[in-house]
Protein backbone atom coordinates (compact mmCIF):
# COMPACT_ATOMS: atom_id res chain seq x y z
CA UNK A 1 0.00 0.00 0.00
CA UNK A 2 1.48 3.34 -1.00
CA UNK A 3 1.62 6.43 1.17
CA UNK A 4 -0.88 8.25 -1.04
CA UNK A 5 -3.41 5.43 -0.97
CA UNK A 6 -3.04 5.22 2.81
CA UNK A 7 -3.68 8.95 3.09
CA UNK A 8 -6.63 8.59 0.74
CA UNK A 9 -8.10 5.82 2.85
CA UNK A 10 -7.59 7.85 6.01
CA UNK A 11 -9.31 10.85 4.46
CA UNK A 12 -12.25 8.71 3.37
CA UNK A 13 -12.58 7.33 6.90
CA UNK A 14 -12.32 10.80 8.38
CA UNK A 15 -15.05 12.23 6.16
CA UNK A 16 -17.33 9.22 6.66
CA UNK A 17 -16.94 9.21 10.43
CA UNK A 18 -17.33 12.99 10.64
CA UNK A 19 -20.62 12.77 8.74
CA UNK A 20 -21.82 9.94 11.02
CA UNK A 21 -20.99 11.92 14.15
CA UNK A 22 -22.77 15.01 12.82
CA UNK A 23 -25.86 13.02 11.78
CA UNK A 24 -26.08 11.33 15.19
CA UNK A 25 -25.77 14.72 16.91
CA UNK A 26 -28.47 16.30 14.75
CA UNK A 27 -30.79 13.35 15.42
CA UNK A 28 -30.14 13.41 19.18
CA UNK A 29 -30.45 17.19 19.44
CA UNK A 30 -33.71 17.24 17.52
CA UNK A 31 -35.19 14.18 19.28
CA UNK A 32 -34.39 15.39 22.78
CA UNK A 33 -35.77 18.85 22.02
CA UNK A 34 -38.99 17.29 20.75
CA UNK A 35 -39.63 15.26 23.88
CA UNK A 36 -38.31 17.50 26.64
CA UNK A 37 -40.87 19.68 28.45
CA UNK A 38 -38.71 22.83 28.39
CA UNK A 39 -37.91 22.67 24.68
CA UNK A 40 -37.12 25.74 22.61
CA UNK A 41 -38.42 26.44 19.09
CA UNK A 42 -36.10 25.13 16.37
CA UNK A 43 -36.30 28.44 14.57
CA UNK A 44 -36.91 31.69 16.37
CA UNK A 45 -36.49 35.29 15.31
CA UNK A 46 -33.92 36.87 17.52
CA UNK A 47 -33.92 40.60 18.02
CA UNK A 48 -33.04 42.86 20.90
CA UNK A 49 -36.46 44.53 20.78
CA UNK A 50 -38.16 41.16 21.53
CA UNK A 51 -35.86 40.55 24.45
CA UNK A 52 -36.72 43.91 25.92
CA UNK A 53 -40.37 43.10 26.45
CA UNK A 54 -41.01 41.98 30.02
CA UNK A 55 -43.35 39.13 30.96
CA UNK A 56 -46.18 41.58 31.62
CA UNK A 57 -45.80 43.02 28.13
CA UNK A 58 -44.01 46.22 29.07
CA UNK A 59 -41.40 47.45 26.60
CA UNK A 60 -38.14 48.35 28.26
CA UNK A 61 -36.53 49.98 25.25
CA UNK A 62 -36.65 53.76 25.14
CA UNK A 63 -36.17 55.70 21.88
CA UNK A 64 -33.16 58.00 21.77
CA UNK A 65 -35.35 61.12 21.42
CA UNK A 66 -37.21 60.33 24.65
CA UNK A 67 -33.97 59.58 26.47
CA UNK A 68 -32.45 62.82 25.20
CA UNK A 69 -35.54 64.76 26.34
CA UNK A 70 -35.32 63.24 29.82
CA UNK A 71 -31.61 64.07 29.83
CA UNK A 72 -32.31 67.70 28.90
CA UNK A 73 -34.90 67.98 31.69
CA UNK A 74 -32.50 66.28 34.10
CA UNK A 75 -35.36 63.88 34.77
CA UNK A 76 -33.55 60.55 34.57
CA UNK A 77 -30.51 58.80 35.96
CA UNK A 78 -28.30 57.20 33.30
CA UNK A 79 -26.53 54.00 34.28
CA UNK A 80 -23.55 52.83 32.26
CA UNK A 81 -23.41 49.02 32.45
CA UNK A 82 -20.02 48.69 30.76
CA UNK A 83 -16.66 48.12 32.45
CA UNK A 84 -15.02 50.93 34.47
CA UNK A 85 -12.29 51.16 31.78
CA UNK A 86 -14.83 51.74 29.01
CA UNK A 87 -16.72 54.17 31.23
CA UNK A 88 -13.51 56.09 31.91
CA UNK A 89 -12.82 56.44 28.19
CA UNK A 90 -16.14 58.12 27.64
CA UNK A 91 -19.75 58.06 28.84
CA UNK A 92 -23.01 59.95 28.66
CA UNK A 93 -22.56 63.16 30.66
CA UNK A 94 -23.58 62.62 34.27
CA UNK A 95 -24.03 58.87 33.84
CA UNK A 96 -23.17 56.62 36.77
CA UNK A 97 -21.01 53.56 36.16
CA UNK A 98 -22.63 50.32 37.28
CA UNK A 99 -20.62 47.54 35.58
CA UNK A 100 -22.83 44.51 35.15
CA UNK A 101 -19.99 42.03 35.63
CA UNK A 102 -19.14 43.49 39.04
CA UNK A 103 -22.62 44.60 40.03
CA UNK A 104 -22.29 43.05 43.51
CA UNK A 105 -19.41 45.40 44.35
CA UNK A 106 -21.50 48.42 43.49
CA UNK A 107 -24.51 47.57 45.57
CA UNK A 108 -23.88 49.94 48.44
CA UNK A 109 -22.03 52.67 46.56
CA UNK A 110 -24.44 52.97 43.65
CA UNK A 111 -27.66 50.99 43.83
CA UNK A 112 -28.49 51.93 47.43
CA UNK A 113 -28.04 55.61 46.60
CA UNK A 114 -30.59 55.56 43.77
CA UNK A 115 -34.24 56.44 44.21
CA UNK A 116 -36.37 53.50 42.98
CA UNK A 117 -39.05 55.95 41.84
CA UNK A 118 -36.76 57.94 39.53
CA UNK A 119 -36.62 57.11 35.86
CA UNK A 120 -33.49 55.04 35.35
CA UNK A 121 -32.02 54.47 31.90
CA UNK A 122 -29.41 51.76 31.45
CA UNK A 123 -27.13 51.57 28.44
CA UNK A 124 -24.08 49.79 27.10
CA UNK A 125 -22.63 49.62 23.61
CA UNK A 126 -23.63 47.62 20.52
CA UNK A 127 -27.00 46.63 19.11
CA UNK A 128 -27.07 43.32 20.99
CA UNK A 129 -25.05 44.17 24.08
CA UNK A 130 -26.82 42.27 26.89
CA UNK A 131 -25.39 44.23 29.83
CA UNK A 132 -27.91 47.08 29.92
CA UNK A 133 -30.78 44.63 29.54
CA UNK A 134 -29.51 42.38 32.34
CA UNK A 135 -28.95 45.38 34.59
CA UNK A 136 -32.45 46.70 33.86
CA UNK A 137 -33.96 43.33 34.78
CA UNK A 138 -32.04 43.30 38.06
CA UNK A 139 -33.20 46.81 38.92
CA UNK A 140 -36.80 45.87 38.17
CA UNK A 141 -36.45 42.87 40.46
CA UNK A 142 -35.10 45.18 43.15
CA UNK A 143 -38.24 47.26 42.94
CA UNK A 144 -37.24 50.07 40.59
CA UNK A 145 -40.43 51.09 38.87
CA UNK A 146 -39.25 53.22 35.96
CA UNK A 147 -36.42 51.33 34.32
CA UNK A 148 -35.65 51.79 30.63
CA UNK A 149 -32.95 50.50 28.31
CA UNK A 150 -31.33 52.70 25.69
CA UNK A 151 -30.33 50.04 23.14
CA UNK A 152 -26.88 50.64 21.63
CA UNK A 153 -26.84 53.69 23.90
CA UNK A 154 -23.24 54.81 23.84
CA UNK A 155 -22.87 54.61 20.04
CA UNK A 156 -26.21 56.32 19.40
CA UNK A 157 -25.51 59.06 21.93
CA UNK A 158 -22.16 59.86 20.32
CA UNK A 159 -23.56 59.70 16.79
CA UNK A 160 -26.15 62.33 17.67
CA UNK A 161 -23.55 64.56 19.31
CA UNK A 162 -25.34 64.56 22.64
CA UNK A 163 -23.35 65.65 25.72
CA UNK A 164 -20.64 63.22 26.78
CA UNK A 165 -17.75 63.14 29.20
CA UNK A 166 -14.56 61.66 27.79
CA UNK A 167 -11.16 60.96 29.32
CA UNK A 168 -9.68 63.87 27.38
CA UNK A 169 -12.33 66.42 28.34
Amino acid sequence: MTVSSRTGQHLTDTVRQTIFIILISVALGAAVNLIRPDSIPFVETWSMADKLVTEDGETLAIPLEDAAALFADNAAVFLDARTPAEYAQGHIQGAVNLPWHEVDNYFETVIMTLDPETTTITYCDGEACPLSHDLAMLLKDLGFTRVKVLVNGWSLWKEHNLPVTTSSS
Binding site: M1, R6, H10, D13, T14, V15, R16, Q17, T18, I19, F20, I21, I22, I24, S25, V26, L28, G29, A30, V32, N33, D38, S39, I40, P41, F42, V43, E44, T45, W46, S47, R82, T83, E86, W100, H101, C124, G126, E127, A128, C129, P130, L131, D134
Partner: protein, 165 residues
Protein backbone atom coordinates in the same frame (compact mmCIF):
# COMPACT_ATOMS: atom_id res chain seq x y z
CA UNK B 1 17.56 0.07 17.46
CA UNK B 2 14.37 -1.89 18.33
CA UNK B 3 14.78 -0.67 21.91
CA UNK B 4 14.80 2.96 20.74
CA UNK B 5 11.82 2.31 18.52
CA UNK B 6 9.93 0.81 21.41
CA UNK B 7 10.45 3.82 23.69
CA UNK B 8 9.44 6.09 20.81
CA UNK B 9 6.26 4.09 20.42
CA UNK B 10 5.52 4.30 24.13
CA UNK B 11 5.79 8.10 24.06
CA UNK B 12 3.46 8.27 21.07
CA UNK B 13 1.00 5.91 22.75
CA UNK B 14 0.98 7.94 25.95
CA UNK B 15 0.57 11.15 23.94
CA UNK B 16 -2.30 9.61 22.00
CA UNK B 17 -4.24 8.40 25.03
CA UNK B 18 -3.49 11.54 27.06
CA UNK B 19 -4.75 13.99 24.41
CA UNK B 20 -7.67 11.67 23.59
CA UNK B 21 -8.85 11.55 27.21
CA UNK B 22 -8.26 15.24 27.92
CA UNK B 23 -10.26 16.30 24.85
CA UNK B 24 -12.97 13.72 25.64
CA UNK B 25 -13.28 15.29 29.10
CA UNK B 26 -13.31 18.82 27.71
CA UNK B 27 -16.04 18.13 25.15
CA UNK B 28 -18.26 16.03 27.39
CA UNK B 29 -17.99 18.48 30.28
CA UNK B 30 -18.62 21.42 27.96
CA UNK B 31 -21.78 19.83 26.55
CA UNK B 32 -23.63 19.08 29.78
CA UNK B 33 -24.69 22.53 30.97
CA UNK B 34 -25.66 23.55 27.42
CA UNK B 35 -27.80 20.45 26.97
CA UNK B 36 -29.54 21.10 30.29
CA UNK B 37 -30.20 24.79 29.49
CA UNK B 38 -30.90 25.21 25.74
CA UNK B 39 -32.71 28.51 26.38
CA UNK B 40 -29.69 30.07 28.10
CA UNK B 41 -27.27 28.65 25.57
CA UNK B 42 -29.28 30.00 22.65
CA UNK B 43 -28.90 33.43 24.23
CA UNK B 44 -25.13 32.93 24.49
CA UNK B 45 -25.06 31.93 20.79
CA UNK B 46 -27.14 34.96 19.88
CA UNK B 47 -24.83 37.28 21.81
CA UNK B 48 -21.89 36.24 19.65
CA UNK B 49 -23.70 38.05 16.79
CA UNK B 50 -22.21 35.92 14.06
CA UNK B 51 -25.22 33.85 13.01
CA UNK B 52 -28.42 34.94 11.27
CA UNK B 53 -31.31 34.84 13.75
CA UNK B 54 -32.95 31.72 12.32
CA UNK B 55 -29.81 29.64 12.86
CA UNK B 56 -29.33 30.62 16.51
CA UNK B 57 -31.65 28.04 18.07
CA UNK B 58 -30.65 25.25 15.68
CA UNK B 59 -27.02 25.82 16.59
CA UNK B 60 -27.83 25.94 20.28
CA UNK B 61 -29.71 22.65 19.98
CA UNK B 62 -27.22 20.70 17.85
CA UNK B 63 -23.79 21.97 18.94
CA UNK B 64 -23.89 20.58 22.51
CA UNK B 65 -24.89 17.15 21.18
CA UNK B 66 -22.08 17.30 18.67
CA UNK B 67 -19.70 17.98 21.54
CA UNK B 68 -21.16 15.11 23.56
CA UNK B 69 -21.11 12.62 20.66
CA UNK B 70 -17.58 13.41 19.61
CA UNK B 71 -16.43 13.49 23.25
CA UNK B 72 -17.94 10.04 23.70
CA UNK B 73 -16.17 8.76 20.55
CA UNK B 74 -12.88 10.07 21.93
CA UNK B 75 -13.60 8.48 25.31
CA UNK B 76 -14.40 5.01 23.96
CA UNK B 77 -11.67 5.23 21.30
CA UNK B 78 -14.02 4.72 18.34
CA UNK B 79 -14.25 6.60 15.01
CA UNK B 80 -11.09 8.37 16.03
CA UNK B 81 -10.24 9.72 12.57
CA UNK B 82 -13.55 11.56 12.36
CA UNK B 83 -13.75 12.51 16.04
CA UNK B 84 -10.23 13.94 16.20
CA UNK B 85 -10.69 15.88 12.95
CA UNK B 86 -14.02 17.26 14.18
CA UNK B 87 -12.48 18.17 17.54
CA UNK B 88 -9.75 20.15 15.77
CA UNK B 89 -12.27 21.83 13.46
CA UNK B 90 -14.54 22.79 16.36
CA UNK B 91 -11.65 24.14 18.43
CA UNK B 92 -10.46 26.20 15.44
CA UNK B 93 -14.00 27.52 15.00
CA UNK B 94 -14.37 28.41 18.70
CA UNK B 95 -10.99 30.07 18.71
CA UNK B 96 -11.94 32.10 15.64
CA UNK B 97 -15.19 33.23 17.28
CA UNK B 98 -13.42 34.25 20.47
CA UNK B 99 -10.71 36.15 18.58
CA UNK B 100 -13.36 37.86 16.48
CA UNK B 101 -15.28 39.02 19.52
CA UNK B 102 -12.18 40.06 21.46
CA UNK B 103 -11.16 42.14 18.45
CA UNK B 104 -14.64 43.67 18.21
CA UNK B 105 -14.54 44.38 21.93
CA UNK B 106 -17.94 42.80 22.55
CA UNK B 107 -18.45 42.21 26.23
CA UNK B 108 -20.18 38.85 26.08
CA UNK B 109 -20.08 35.55 27.84
CA UNK B 110 -18.01 32.75 26.38
CA UNK B 111 -20.74 30.11 26.65
CA UNK B 112 -17.88 27.63 26.60
CA UNK B 113 -18.42 25.53 29.70
CA UNK B 114 -21.50 27.21 31.10
CA UNK B 115 -24.64 28.17 29.23
CA UNK B 116 -25.43 31.08 31.54
CA UNK B 117 -24.88 34.49 29.92
CA UNK B 118 -23.58 36.07 33.15
CA UNK B 119 -20.75 33.63 33.74
CA UNK B 120 -17.56 32.86 31.95
CA UNK B 121 -16.72 36.20 30.27
CA UNK B 122 -14.27 36.03 27.36
CA UNK B 123 -10.76 36.98 28.44
CA UNK B 124 -7.22 36.41 27.19
CA UNK B 125 -7.18 33.36 29.44
CA UNK B 126 -10.09 31.92 27.46
CA UNK B 127 -8.03 32.49 24.35
CA UNK B 128 -4.95 30.78 25.82
CA UNK B 129 -7.06 27.84 26.98
CA UNK B 130 -8.62 27.38 23.56
CA UNK B 131 -5.25 27.60 21.82
CA UNK B 132 -4.01 24.79 24.09
CA UNK B 133 -7.08 22.68 23.30
CA UNK B 134 -6.61 23.32 19.59
CA UNK B 135 -2.99 22.15 19.80
CA UNK B 136 -4.12 19.02 21.67
CA UNK B 137 -6.79 18.31 19.03
CA UNK B 138 -4.40 18.81 16.12
CA UNK B 139 -1.81 16.64 17.85
CA UNK B 140 -4.41 13.95 18.42
CA UNK B 141 -5.52 14.03 14.78
CA UNK B 142 -1.88 13.63 13.74
CA UNK B 143 -1.34 10.75 16.15
CA UNK B 144 -4.49 9.00 14.91
CA UNK B 145 -3.06 9.16 11.39
CA UNK B 146 0.39 7.88 12.41
CA UNK B 147 -1.16 5.08 14.44
CA UNK B 148 -3.28 3.96 11.56
CA UNK B 149 -0.33 4.05 9.17
CA UNK B 150 1.62 1.87 11.61
CA UNK B 151 -1.25 -0.63 11.83
CA UNK B 152 -1.36 -0.94 8.05
CA UNK B 153 2.38 -1.44 7.87
CA UNK B 154 2.18 -4.11 10.53
CA UNK B 155 -0.54 -5.97 8.70
CA UNK B 156 1.60 -5.86 5.58
CA UNK B 157 4.55 -7.22 7.56
CA UNK B 158 6.65 -4.15 6.95
CA UNK B 159 7.08 -3.34 10.57
CA UNK B 160 8.36 -6.07 12.86
CA UNK B 161 9.37 -3.66 15.60
CA UNK B 162 7.45 -2.52 18.66
CA UNK B 163 3.69 -2.78 18.60
CA UNK B 164 1.27 0.03 19.26
CA UNK B 165 -1.45 -0.75 21.68
Amino acid sequence: MPQQKLSHDIILTIGYHFTRLVMAGVFIYASIDKIIHPDLFSEAVYNYQVLPGYLVNLTALILPWLELTLGTCLLINRWMAGASALAAMLMALFLGMILFNLARGLDISCGCFSAAPDEDPITLLTLARDILFLIFSLGLAGLVYIRKARDVMEILGENQGGRWE
